[in-house]
Symmetry: C2
Subunit: 72 residues, 2 copies
């Protein structure tokens, strides 16, 4: 199972978290999403065998109106 971590800027509340979740939900291959407006942390756990590039995640977050960068 692969976990990808990102730092998302611009989220301020639960609605923002929902907007990010909602866009990510449209992608195939994600098993779990953990996102926090207060810390800006986004953790995406991919399903077994899924191959989802960072760029797809970053683009989905962008669609929601925020900017994500891979976290160290």
């Amino acid at each position: 199972m692969t976990t990808k971590n990102f730092t998302v800027t611009g989220m301020s509340c639960g609605h923002c978290e929902s907007a990010v979740r909602s866009e990510l939900a449209e992608l195939t291959g994600i098993e779990e999403i953990a996102v926090s407006a207060s810390t800006g942390e986004l953790r995406v756990t991919l399903a077994e065998g899924a191959d989802l590039p960072d760029s797809a995640i970053i683009e989905a977050v962008d669609e929601a109106g925020y900017q994500a960068v891979p976290a160290p």
Copy 2:
């Protein structure tokens, strides 16, 4: 035309403004809504002849998850 002003606490972004608008939209007798997360100002303009008590507006804002008090 009657205009009612409120101060709303807890809104942080455009999603919050939308949530407030959305709840207020369910009320009858409102002609215009101006709401700002940054200032916390909510201005509700009633339609001609409409009689909407402050309490109905405050309750709708509460449904959205925020607290409104009549502004001076």
